[in-house]
């Protein structure tokens, strides 16, 4: 059988060493009435047959080429340097556990310490944690931090926050008896104002004013940000936000039907004790050598149990490693170039689309980076038509926002080359 190591002889000799006759003697504690003869599953397959079956499932999916993908909505096609997979496929990284024994886990610990620093730098805040599951749970965890920190029982969602993030936020808040309210005017019960920059439609919000209004009401400001846009855009730390969160998929992770990706969270110094999950810090051994350890674990579930700041244990370490390799590969200049190329192409595309008959920007007065909403005639027909030409077209956002009938969002990144834009336009004009 695959992956099993004991031979029948091993099994017999092990039973003999234990001093029992058969396996049944080891399973005596399980009541007979609970024993099942076998599992209601087919017998195992050879590796060849296994892969044939799985490959045939993969073949039943349609994969659109990167360059002809104009769909975003939280998951984006980007150039992923080969270095990322070369690092994350090292078994020393991907087959290690959470670094409970620091001396034997310095590779993971240092890599994640670097991740924390990279996120803190990108968001211009003091400290970031070792990662969270995704952007949605990162928003929810940040709301929990604000609730605990302020002792207030309401969070305010301002503008077009990703609808799935709002749903997850609601599920978390329901458990804790926290109200989720949509609006722009925080009050004395508001623990935090949460906004997304750019928002779900791709539009830029007035992050500075939102932050100031939150603070004026005694609430925290939580900014949900696009990591790549931060090469261009003012980061949360510059406009005074207290907590930054976001989805890190764009930092070197494939779409993979929505996961695994990586959530990130960073905050001001005053809030560090409220952070959920792992934190890695510098420590030294007796000889004065520098190393890295899990730090401030008194916040965490394995020590604090029901009083922990979060229940998170396993996070998304390997995805954080991928993001670290990506950010290190890019450096400040590379990241800026990726952001700028995406920005320029998206703006050119937006202009060309607006020239199509009946098409117009859905929010003509609003700025964007590389994702933008258009109001179009017959949105569903547009998407279907593009699919027929092998193009993964825009998202119809009416699915979530009834008031946005006929609005679709397009995304453009460095993988959508100039010819791909031409092909998109040609398909729409045909």
């Amino acid at each position: 059988m695959p992956y099993l190591v004991h031979s029948e002889e091993d099994r017999a000799s092990m039973l003999e060493s234990i001093g029992v006759q058969s396996m049944d003697d080891l399973l005596v504690d399980i009541p007979q009435s609970l024993r099942i003869g076998s599992l209601d599953l087919p017998d195992g397959l050879s590796e060849y047959e296994t892969m044939s079956q799985i490959a045939s499932l993969a073949a039943r999916n349609r994969v659109f080429p990167d360059r002809l993908t104009f769909r975003g909505g939280g998951v984006y096609r980007r150039f992923i340097p080969a270095a990322v997979a070369a690092v994350t496929s090292k078994p020393e990284f991907y087959t290690a556990y959470t670094p409970y024994q620091p001396e034997a886990s310095q590779g993971t610990l240092q890599a994640i310490f670097e991740f924390q620093t990279l996120i803190a730098e990108l968001t211009a805040l003091d400290v970031a944690n070792a990662s969270l599951y995704d952007g949605a749970t990162a928003v929810a965890e940040a709301a929990m931090m604000a609730h605990i920190h302020t002792g207030r029982n309401e969070v305010m969602v301002s503008g077009y926050l990703h609808p799935e993030y709002v749903e997850v936020l609601r599920a978390f808040c329901d458990g804790r008896g926290i109200k989720v309210r949509k609006g722009t005017e925080p009050g004395p019960k508001t623990a935090a104002v949460i906004f997304q920059q750019p928002d779900f439609l791709g539009l830029l919000v007035d992050a500075k004013t939102l932050t100031e209004n939150a603070h004026a009401a005694g609430a925290l400001a939580i900014a949900c940000v696009d990591p790549i846009s931060l090469a261009i855009l003012s980061p949360p730390g510059e406009y005074g936000a207290d907590i930054a969160v976001g989805e890190g998929q764009q930092l070197g992770l494939s779409p993979s039907y929505g996961g695994p990706h990586v959530g990130f969270i960073s905050c001001r110094r005053e809030l560090v004790r409220r952070l959920p999950g792992r934190l890695i810090g510098i420590a030294h051994d007796k000889q004065g050598r520098r190393g890295f350890v899990l730090a401030l674990s008194a916040r965490e579930q394995h020590i604090r149990r029901e009083k922990a700041s979060s229940n998170i244990c396993t996070n998304h370490s390997l995805c954080a490693l991928a993001a670290s390799v990506y950010m290190t590969y890019m450096g400040p200049k590379g990241l800026r170039q990726v952001a700028e190329v995406s920005f320029k192409r998206a703006h050119v595309l937006a202009e060309r689309l607006a020239a199509l008959p009946g098409w117009e920007p859905a929010f003509p007065d609003r700025q964007f980076v590389n994702e933008f909403p258009m109001r179009v005639p017959k949105a569903s027909a547009v998407v279907r038509k593009l699919a027929r030409k092998g193009i993964l077209g825009p998202i119809e956002v009416q699915r979530w926002f009834r008031e946005l009938k006929g609005v679709v969002t397009f995304t453009c990144t460095e993988v959508n080359d100039a010819r791909a834009l031409d092909e998109l336009l040609a398909a729409l004009e045909a």
Partner: protein, 495 residues
């Protein structure tokens, strides 16, 4: 060996990677966006060439112990071999390249895989339906408690407490608290199993659920599980199964048959998806019929061979994660289930139990065994017998690292002093188990002959024992504003 941080190696003169140019005549962001929207100071990312970056991460990798190179007997973590074919499967472009908002018609293979994995997990644990959405075990626990809470609420029953045994994983009480429940602890009896008398005294109409791991964290099967289930159900509460220890009995018995109403599974333990140095994992939750209406949205439904995502579930607790969960991990787990089959999974659990009992036998005269065997897939030993020589479980753990073994889980469960929790799994050979037992014997002998050597361990690793107390002091100083060194991140020294 130590390795400088990428930030310390950074050279501002290093040339940036060659990336696509815009190739369109577009305006720069600074020409379009107002100054308030623009970043003032570039982020302090390191600047290195690709060869330097690859060297950096290769050297970091070499500083890790991992299941690929070491025996990793970390109790409760089920560190078994991660089949390499699973990685190939997850990387197939037909999976890795899928956008989560593609139309259902273009992702039938992905949905079929999810549906089949759900059916397989239902068969293994004996439940009606499974949600694949939770991203990790603790996330699954919380999801299950949200469903249990919604179930009680739907019946107009406002229950406020969740019972958790004193031997439980810390995530159990934390998940219960995050779901808005008060946590009430249930004591273990002298035989290491839950005390029925104590359970009886804690059960009341206020109790929403009992969270239980079986076999428990001591590796012992709760023999009276059927009585426990009856007691819990009689008060109208639900029984929740923490699947951390599912590797003990696949194909031997099923939590559903024991009376559990909700069951979480760790695909990164039992179903071999790699742990990644701390995730990503996946924590699907299985439920019996009465909890099905409360499953997170969307569910995957299959009619006449056509698959769809069902978002219209009025009683659902909503969404617990964006999209559909850690899909890439689901592909890996499915690949494992197909390759193993029902016969293979059953043999895996039997071998896991055999290996644990065998290893327990090999070291039973060297360490204390606070509870009688047989054990299931793991056992908890105690280093209490070494304490009169001044040697602690921590010393044993570090001495094992020096002998090229990862350490067992130590100081857990809390009910055993100087605990060493050992889970060998089915993928470790008898020869390796013997070598580990020999290392334990050597360490126990050294506790008598040269305890200082154990206190000084590890000696053969990139760093020795790290002073976490001093680190915590420095972090506190930073958090209290008495120092500008954050300790939790690198700060380039100002010139």
């Amino acid at each position: 060996m130590t390795e400088l941080l990428s930030f310390e190696k950074s050279r501002p003169a290093a040339s940036p990677p060659r990336l696509p140019e815009a190739d369109v005549k577009g305006l720069d962001p600074s020409q379009v966006l107002g100054p308030d929207l623009l970043r003032q100071k570039a982020p302090g990312l390191p600047q290195l060439s690709e060869p330097e970056i690859m060297r950096h991460y290769s050297r970091l990798a070499s500083m890790n112990y991992s299941i690929s190179e070491q025996f990793y007997p970390l109790g409760s973590c089920t560190m078994k071999y991660n089949p390499v074919v699973n990685e190939v499967a997850a990387a197939l472009p037909g999976f890795a390249g899928l956008h989560p908002y593609q139309d259902e018609d273009t992702v039938q293979g992905a949905l079929e895989l999810m549906w089949r994995l759900e059916r397989a997990l239902c068969a293994v644990v004996g439940v009606e339906r499974v949600t694949l959405q939770p991203a990790a075990g603790a996330h699954g626990e919380w999801t299950a408690l949200r469903m249990i809470s919604a179930y009680h609420h739907s019946r107009g029953d406002n229950r406020t407490e969740v019972l958790v045994p004193d031997s439980a994983h810390g995530t159990n009480p934390a998940s219960a608290a995050l779901s808005g429940f008060q946590v009430v602890e249930v004591k273990s009896g002298p035989d290491g199993r839950i005390s029925l008398a104590d359970l009886e005294s804690k059960l009341s109409p206020r109790v929403a659920a009992l969270m239980l791991t079986n076999p428990n964290t001591l590796g012992l099967f709760e023999r009276q599980i059927l009585d426990i289930a009856e007691m819990v159900h009689a008060t109208g509460a639900m029984l929740y199964y923490d699947g951390a220890n599912l590797n003990a009995f696949m194909g031997i018995c099923r939590p559903g048959d024991m009376g559990f109403d909700a069951v979480h599974m760790n695909l990164h333990k039992t179903f071999t998806t790699p742990h990644g140095g701390g995730g990503p994992g996946a924590g699907p939750v299985g439920v019996k019929a009465e909890l099905v209406p409360f499953l997170p949205t969307p569910t995957v439904e299959r009619t006449n061979g056509h698959l769809k995502l069902d978002f219209k579930r009025p009683k659902s607790i909503g969404r617990v994660r964006s999209f559909y969960g850690n899909f890439g991990m689901l592909v890996r787990a499915y690949s494992y289930v197909v390759a193993m089959g029902g016969d293979g999974l059953t043999q895996a659990s039997r071998d896991a139990v055999l290996s644990a009992n065998y290893l327990r036998k090999q070291v039973e005269n060297d360490l204390e065994m606070p509870h009688e065997g047989p054990c299931m897939h793991e056992f908890v030993a105690s280093a209490q017998n070494l304490t009169h020589d001044g040697v602690k479980a921590l010393d044993v753990a570090k001495a094992l690292l020096d002998r090229d073994f990862y350490a067992p889980t130590i100081y857990f469960p809390l009910v055993v002093p100087e605990a060493l929790m050992v889970e060998p799994t089915e993928t470790e050979s008898k020869a390796n188990l013997d070598a580990f037992a020999a290392a334990i014997k050597e360490i126990v002998a050294e506790a008598k002959s040269n305890p200082q050597a154990l206190h000084d361990a590890p000696q053969n690793l990139p760093v020795g024992r790290l002073d976490e107390v001093a680190a915590a002091r420095r972090i506190n100083a930073y958090l209290q504003g008495q120092s500008e060194d954050p300790v939790l991140r690198w700060k380039t020294p100002e010139k």
